[in-house]
Subunit: 196 residues, 4 copies
DNA sequence: GACTAATCGAGACGGTACGTCAAGTCTTGTG
DNA sequence: CACAAGACTTGACGTACCGTCTCGATTAGTC
């Protein structure tokens, strides 16, 4: 039933060491500065060993980022407004720290280059977002949000604004912006009582 | 008054021809498929001539895209809801057509790589968005939108959601999504009459 | 004892093919006409492979010439006068044939540019001259030449005159000149019996 | 009859300034380090102006060297042995000083590349050598040298040995070598009284 | 203990593009 | 005309990575 386990087994220590070093390079020198040769050398590992695990530089980069964002704190205080601001503030901090910005863009580009990488990336984001979507759903059931609220659309509005602003318009993001964002999304833009 | 114009003047025809060809390559073969050598050859121009005008491949790519998006149609029907849906629908179509997706991501990455490119990109988006921001402002003055609406935040929510969704979560975007987006942004998520 | 031979071994066939083609280019089109790109292409080899073995165009050229002059015929007839004339005549023929002249000058220039190349070139000439120096030594022991004859000086006079004449003064060299040269060097210029 | 002398006359000052600067570059950075662009810039002169006078870099280099070696001291003491040693010692000093070595080789290479440059170079050497050849001729007439001495061959032996030694074998040259050289050339290598 | 099968380290290799450099030509406008 | 300025062509150079390959040496489990 199980595939026969013959031959020398993989050294799991290698995975750890390579990902650590690749993460370091990625943070220090950006995506373009992540060189397979350099990582292999620094990890004391042959390039072939690298390619046996990650079929391309893009795959390695995705693996690194997947491991980097394991735990985003999502607390449910019962006040959706507060919870969302907290969460966005956390993301804002992560973006402003380190080089993660360029990295995120490069990953999106890699996703557009290769379908399989696209799936990996999308999986990463989907898993990361699931907790917040659940949060929103619970607020709907509590009646804090309208029953017809589309959780995904709401979340897209929030997270999307953040990335769009910083990536494309180059404007800064900070906790105050996160708060304005949540307010705007929750309250809407039309005058009260005039909804269609 | 003006700096004396000495020496052989630049051949403006070259700019046109190079940008045309680069645009074609970009659309046909994507960002990675844009090769300075190939463009130079196809344009019948020396590589050095290219580098005299655009100091790197990234710069050329930015120049190309800047020229590509001259006119996005922004009509003011007097109904902001309709105008925004129209505009977003137009962007959705542009994104779904051709390879522009990967290109956008690559440009964002390039922006993160070099500061000067960042400024160029941000300028492009800023100019492109100005018309829509003005549209929103007019709707505010008409009383169609609340007076305290932050136009930039509203726009970030709309455009950002679009790009975020398609780039990072890999979900499709279509006219229906554009409509849901506008509705959500304008009407908000909290039940009517419960605004803080 | 020997350094352990790890990694993929170099393909010696490549050396042979590259040197053959480079030699051909060198002879047909001269030093300036020797292009790394062209050689790599013609040899069906990547440029990087070339640079791994010869760190610059100059190094490659030296390697080519080193291989070209493996066997200069040095016969010992017992008559030093005859032997030297034969040898010089052979060199004269080699110089007059093909482009070797410019090549020799270029190599000397390359030697002045890079120290390591200098050593290579000097090694080539040293090895090439060793046989003739031995010939001269034997003539000394036979008593054909004076015991205090400095073999190196004598050889410098002969070979040097040849190259100097053709390279710097542009005068032709031929077998007759070779003979005059040997006569002059062996017999001296002062009237007999008037030596200091 | 005379070519019409119309238009702006050439600025002779330019020639001087350019040659000065080119000479400096040549000495400081060698032949490859002599860049037309750099010379033009340093001389405050347009490249076209340079090319109007010297049709190529090689021509400029030749012009520079021609001007550099105006006066080699040739004194006639009445003792040919002494005079030759003096002269060679002077050349040895010139070679050992500065970068002239590589330069000489490059010029020889340039001579082999273009016929017209060859003629220029050969002219330079011919003129430079004329005085020494005359010296040798006078020694012949005085009976200091054998009447059948070939002055050119003798000179080739002396100067040639110098250049050959230092360019091709990489051995050092010094006044002592110059002396050994003259002795060997004048006295010959065969035992006294055994001349054929 | 021999055999088999996979991993690992090392490094050569093909390929593709990059960005740079210098030579020499051409095109302006100015004196 | 000469000249300054600088754009342009041409051609090659050397470099940097990527991803593949070929070795020999380990390191298991299997027979």
């Amino acid at each position: 039933m199980s595939e026969s386990k013959r031959g020398r087994p993989r050294d799991m220590e290698v995975d750890r060491r390579v990902l650590d070093i690749a993460a370091a390079q990625l943070v220090e020198r950006g995506y373009a500065g992540l060189s397979i040769d350099a990582v292999a050398e620094a990890a004391g590992v042959a390039k072939t060993t690298l390619y046996r695990r990650w079929p391309s530089k893009d795959h390695l980069a995705v693996a690194v980022t997947a491991r980097m964002q394991e735990a985003d704190p999502v607390a449910d205080t019962g006040d959706i407004r507060v919870d969302l601001v907290n969460y966005l503030t956390h993301i804002v901090a992560a973006i402003n720290r380190s080089r993660s910005l360029g990295l995120v863009a490069e990953l999106a580009a890699a996703a557009a280059r290769h379908d399989d990488i696209g799936e990996l990336i999308h999986g990463v984001f989907t898993r990361r977002n699931a907790l917040v979507l659940a949060l929103i759903e619970r607020a709907k059931q509590r009646g804090e949000l309208r029953a017809d609220t589309d959780a995904v659309v709401l979340f897209d509005q929030l997270a999307g604004a953040l990335y769009y602003r910083v990536l494309f318009t180059g404007m800064p993001i900070d906790p105050a912006y996160a708060e304005r964002l949540v307010t705007a999304a929750l309250d809407g833009a039309v005058p009260t009582g005039e909804m269609s």
